[in-house]
Symmetry: C2
Subunit: 496 residues, 2 copies
Amino acid sequence: MTAYAELSAHFGRIAALSNAIGILHWDNDVMMPRGASPSRAESIALLHVMRHDLTTDGRIADWLDAANENDLDPWQQANVREIRRIFTVETALPSDLVSASSKATSICEMKWRQARAESDFASLLPYLEEVLRLQREIGQAKGEKLGLSPYDALLNDYEPGGRAEKIDALFDDLAAFLPGFLGEAVEAQAKRPQGPAPEGPFPVEAQRALGQRMMATLGYDFERGRLDVSTHPFCGGADNDVRITTRYDEADFSSALMGVLHETGHALYEQGRPAAYLDQPVSHARGMSLHESQSLLIEMQACRSREFILFAAPLMREAFGGEGAAWDAEAVWRRYTKVAPGFIRVDADEVTYPAHVILRYRLEKALIAGEMALADLPAAWSEGMRNLLGITPPSDRLGCLQDVHWPSGGWGYFPTYTLGAMTAAQIFDAAKLSQPDVLPGIARGDFAPLVTWLRENIHGKGSLLTTDELLTQATGRPLDPAVFKAHLRRRYVDEA
Amino acid sequence: MTAYAELSAHFGRIAALSNAIGILHWDNDVMMPRGASPSRAESIALLHVMRHDLTTDGRIADWLDAANENDLDPWQQANVREIRRIFTVETALPSDLVSASSKATSICEMKWRQARAESDFASLLPYLEEVLRLQREIGQAKGEKLGLSPYDALLNDYEPGGRAEKIDALFDDLAAFLPGFLGEAVEAQAKRPQGPAPEGPFPVEAQRALGQRMMATLGYDFERGRLDVSTHPFCGGADNDVRITTRYDEADFSSALMGVLHETGHALYEQGRPAAYLDQPVSHARGMSLHESQSLLIEMQACRSREFILFAAPLMREAFGGEGAAWDAEAVWRRYTKVAPGFIRVDADEVTYPAHVILRYRLEKALIAGEMALADLPAAWSEGMRNLLGITPPSDRLGCLQDVHWPSGGWGYFPTYTLGAMTAAQIFDAAKLSQPDVLPGIARGDFAPLVTWLRENIHGKGSLLTTDELLTQATGRPLDPAVFKAHLRRRYVDEA
């Protein structure tokens, strides 16, 4: 076997193991009876250790040295590059640091659930201090190996090639734009009447059927996935088995439906990865900002467009036997584009969401750099909310305790949400320009023009290119916040 | 760490891996979308290899040598004995034989599906020859290491300590009894009128609710398990996560219900294994004959008793809004104890089932010993059916092609079904004798007297004792076919 064939076979085994881990996680959140929780944690931890052992196998270095680039096609070359990247990152950490961090985040996440319920930041502080200390150590260890600052090294795990310096510029631009624009949007909406929402109950079965119909419309492949229920909606599973979840509220069908559309966006990316390399690193989604761009492109760009609502409103009415003006397309569209500042990120609309993210990004960067004490977090959070959204959370539960990311060790993840939103706007614009039938198609419930373009230009590229290269090939330029701002102005002011 | 602590930690990891495999198998049969099939096969095969590697780890031999029996309590001593047994069996096979057998059975199972559908034994023959050849080799390799004949070595995987010599005696006794007794039973039933079955449809939701109610009545713990749907009912999952499945037929609710009761019997065994050793080999169910005894004890001994039907018939009537004499307890009981020879093992009643098993046992023993050519199987099958049940299958689909066991490499498994049926009768008798409230309890829907006794005398013993020791402790003697024969006579002739 050639060195490349050895690498490929080895990472094929890693993929088979990752698929097993993915299904066990899905089952954990969707199917598992409560009493199995400790045993399941053992199984998942063991498979993670086994995967770490495979990914840091010393033979990988030899195979990488021996792989002859000249014998490889561009996909194989990119695969070698991705394997080298993964190997470098994985071998950067001593295994006792991995294990210490894993334990600290397990405990902290448990403490966080209680602290959030009781809005008691002080009780979380010592555990979060420990997680932060270890994250700094991880950032430092990876950073030294990669020549990056600790924060950039953490960010790099979610967004390969991402740099705080670039994000600072993009987010400063957006932070300067948002507060003023929010005022304009709220003013524009005040001028148009917003009727009452339709009244439920909306039976779960009808919601599920509507969601599945929308998934099929979007091109989701049910032969390689499922739709189920979990407390927190997610897209997970395995290669050729991309499963999404939602949760149903019989008083409001929109939250489940929008959740389904969002997760379907993620799933289309996963189902569209290059089939010929599906068990190889080069097939992986390029990074979390592109991943989030695909969910937001579907949920926010495509499915909150007037065109989509024209197609979907009659189906909603039909699904629930609705009557009256609340089901008219324009009324539905207005509800789905309502803007209002709020305390909770996951409930935020498209205009205010970036403010939540910018706040978290700035805070976590300062915390990792040691420029801010964790004890000062609640005060800094409140000040940030006032500056960005003009509101002050009445409690830490509605403030710095709302998200699981920090307690669970997900430092460096937050910026990808808003990078994703900006990327989504830019990609959707490019798709519409390249395929004039994208919006007319959506209006008649035909997503083929859009999804075919995405398959070709985004999903099917896997990790062949860097994020910047991919975006430049697909849209003609690197990430440009002007496109996102123009989208917001068009939807929330000009055409409101 | 002591050598015993090392062993225990190592086998704890093996348990965590086995739990992962169990959930992946469950998902494969219950949840997985079709397109994921090849990827899933890769994942499961990889985890099997990893488990084999862990179970044959050379350090186990050192730890076994170093473990000092004097420092261990009886449970730990039994655990060491079980570990030694597993290690000996697992290391008996060269890994290329394991891999060759795994490939041959995969292919043969696939060919079997088509051969069965087309009733074409000739098309299966070459693939089944290869499976048989490898099974002989496996039996020989294990047998040499264990000092057993090839067939006993295969049997030993399912029934540790089981020996063909003993089974021959038990089955010859039963085979001499059955044909005559079958005539008596059929004659006794001809004398009593059997009314028509109630007419459906019986909605799946009502069937599921009734099944869950019965599971709860039996003491099944839903905090550590689930009930779902699959093509072939089974009990699987993981430690603390014992899941059962059934399949629903809206024209006949009894098949799903009896399936649920049967699998609940298996699940009670698994849920009742000794909690303190749940991740250690000593906690495992003792063998397949005891496992089958627990499913048949619940389904056949307890839940086809007149006492149970007195309790259950009104619940069935209520579940489906039934009316008329078909729902009377005596009518229900007669339907559930109907006896008639048939071609298909899985559809067989309690009286004719052993004939199906004895036939297969005799054939597979002769095939493994090389005393019979595989090409002669269809003729030998027909002859056996005529001798044992007085009927001749019109096709191989209804004959030697009906079961997956041989194509999938499950040689030596069949006898455990009927050993289980005999064991069930003997254990149920002992339980009734020891706890006079067992049958009165069942009549009022209270299984606590029975299940408490089973927990203490069977389930909670794990693999502490041999099957013979366990049965002798629980019932006063080793397996005695007289008890099963007396049960059949009582139910199908004396009290029919």
